[in-house]
């Protein structure tokens, strides 16, 4: 193997002229120093903090081992928040996988390149709008007598006249509903690039076989973009595990703790309840959860790069 490789007529990479090593390390220094101080140190001190009973900054604390983790997993609010996170993640994955694929197929089936480009730009534009603005406006849409109530009443459905985000039974569903119809985002780009990348000969063969319409989408397109599907499943799940924007802005985890999620519980413990150690333990827990997904994702990183297209 090594023999054939060296025998191949590939040009040898020529080396640059030698430069003094201290200069080269000087080029590296700012990036490495910043990474050590502001990335590695917080990450490692987070692990340590999670095993202390630190309450507020500046107050002395003791090492207490895994006690924070034990209290977390016996805390009914935290356990409920795990369940809410799971519900939001399942919803996020389904929405994040299906909706962009559907829209990417719709765009792909337009003949004109100009229209295809226009629609992709239109849906991307939404990503410029500050998330805070979008979520706050959704708070108005779902308030008492809000737009959602009016639509519900207009359609003659039961359950109007409530504040969807404040009602115990609807709050979690309302958080999922924020952003409807959930089209905007990079999912469209990823799927679209996948569809464009399908070998035209395969599509020709499929149409010769009489496969068209939904049949073709299900039996030809879906299997061929399965790499993109996996990538988006992982990215959506990671996003759902970390996110607590709606809780931060609209529900504060309530009513009661009906919309509490670990991320927001961490925020509250750190900055409202004065429980820094406990908050760090939640952070570490989420890190382990996300890391395991990221490791799965690493398998797809190469493919996700292959899937990039303009």
């Amino acid at each position: 193997m090594a023999m054939t490789r060296s025998a191949s007529p590939r040009p040898k990479p020529r080396r640059l002229r030698r430069q003094p090593l201290w200069l080269i390390y000087g080029f590296m220094f700012p990036a490495v120093a910043l990474a050590l101080i502001f990335d590695y140190y917080p990450a490692l001190s987070g692990l340590y903090l999670s095993m202390t009973n630190t309450l507020e900054i500046g107050i002395t604390s003791q090492f207490i081992g895994f006690s924070n983790y034990v209290s977390l997993f016996t805390n009914p609010i935290f356990l409920d928040s795990l369940w809410h996170m799971a519900v939001l993640a399942v919803a996020g994955v389904i929405i994040g996988t299906v909706v962009p694929f559907t829209v990417a197929e719709m765009i792909f089936h337009l003949g004109s390149q100009n229209w295809r480009y226009t629609y992709r730009i239109v849906f991307l534009l939404k990503m410029l709008i500050p998330g805070m603005v979008v979520v706050e406006v959704w708070g108005y849409i779902m308030g008492v007598n809000g737009v959602l109530d009016q639509v519900v009443r207009f359609l003659g459905l039961p359950g109007g006249n409530i504040s969807w985000l404040i009602d115990q039974h609807t709050a979690l569903a309302a958080i999922i509903f924020i952003g409807f119809p959930w089209v905007a985002g990079i999912g469209i780009l990823i799927y679209y690039a996948g569809l464009v990348g399908i070998d035209p000969e395969i599509l020709d063969a499929a149409s010769v076989d009489g496969s068209r319409g939904l049949h073709r989408i299900w039996h030809v397109d879906v299997p061929l973009v399965s790499g993109q599907v996996k990538l988006i499943v992982i990215l959506s799940a990671i996003g759902s595990f970390q996110g607590y924007f709606a809780q931060f802005l609209l529900t504060q985890g309530g009513p009661g703790w009906a919309t509490q999620v670990p991320g927001y519980f961490m925020y509250l413990n750190a900055f409202k309840y004065g429980e820094m150690g406990m908050a760090s333990a939640i952070g570490v827990f989420l890190f382990v959860l996300i890391l395991s997904l990221t490791i799965i994702n690493m398998k797809f990183i190469r493919s996700s790069q292959d899937y990039q297209a303009q």
Binding site: A31, F38, L128, V137, V183, Q242
Partner: protein, 292 residues
């Protein structure tokens, strides 16, 4: 080609000519569906714009429809409050961007173009940080910047932004630095160029497109950041736009017009930026797909 088309057309009997084929019907249906989806997707923005022109009486009677007269004064009222936050955001984003680009182009250049002991170790040490999510570092990062007395200063935003932003930037820049043709460097060295001159006159101009992509990506993220700056900064003097708008929200629960005007004003700068950088923006969003 022309002939065969003409032949095909002449072979068609009138009954075979349908006014609109199913294929073009499908296209019309797709266009209609896509515009409806776009309308729903942007409905919150449309709603915010309509509400931004309302007096409180108009909001009380017709909260969600367009009402006349339009109260343009809502905009001047909220601009008077948030312009200061906008300037702060411009400053914080600007400093963070310059810092991120400076440290990551330097590192990306030597990692991509030189061999030196520990190069791969340092590179993987940096890249491994892509697997560390913000939720792990947020709380200890706050402890750290309190020790550095950076709470309530811009530095409490700038340093974490640079340290967070440099990782992915180095990852991208290294690849682009490696792709620069060796001949350019050979020629420069023949002329006796120093490492600085190679960096400044060859490497930087060659990677300019990807620098634009990185910049657009970071600007969007930092401009729209809410939670971290709202933790770090409580003094309105130093507050950036999103936490500023968040405070403004708390003070204007009853007066929705100026509040929505503030939201619209806060969204405009990025839209203007997009008009000048749409290509970079699309590429940036594409590359952002594999950033966690």
């Amino acid at each position: 080609m022309v002939i065969s088309n003409a032949t095909a057309a002449s072979l068609k009997t009138p009954t075979q000519v349908v006014p609109s084929s199913p294929r073009s019907n499908l296209k019309w249906a797709l266009h209609v569906a896509l515009w409806i989806l776009a309308g729903l997707e942007f409905y919150p923005m449309i709603l915010a714009i309509m509400m931004s022109f309302k007096s409180s009486t108009q909001y009380y009677i017709h909260p969600f429809s367009l009402t006349f007269p339009l109260h343009l004064s809502n905009y001047s009222q909220s601009f008077a409050v948030i312009w200061h936050y906008m300037l702060n955001s411009v400053a914080v984003v600007g400093i963070s961007l310059i810092g991120t680009l400076a440290v990551s182009t330097l590192a990306g250049f030597v990692i991509g173009r030189y061999r030196f002991p520990g190069r791969d170790l340092l590179y993987y040490m940096l890249i491994a940080l892509m697997m560390v999510p913000g939720v792990l570092t947020m709380v200890p990062m706050f402890v750290l910047i309190s020790h550095f007395h950076m709470v309530d200063t811009w530095w409490g935003l700038v340093f974490p932004y640079i340290a967070g932003g440099e990782i992915f930037s180095i990852f991208l820049l290294r690849q682009f630095m490696m792709g620069i043709p060796q001949e350019l460097f050979d020629a420069a060295q023949a002329d006796g160029a120093s490492i600085w001159q190679e960096f400044w006159h060859i490497a930087l101009p060659s990677v300019r497109p990807i620098i634009g992509v990185i910049a657009v990506n970071h600007v969007i993220g930092w401009w729209n950041d809410l939670i971290w700056p709202s933790i770090v900064i409580s003094n309105p003097k130093w507050m950036t736009l999103m936490p500023g708008l968040y405070n403004f929200t708390g003070q204007n629960q009853t007066d929705v017009g100026p509040l929505m005007a503030g939201y619209v004003l806060g969204s405009i700068p990025l839209v203007i930026l997009f008009l000048f950088t749409s290509r970079l923006f699309v590429e940036g969003m594409n590359s952002g797909a594999f950033k966690l």
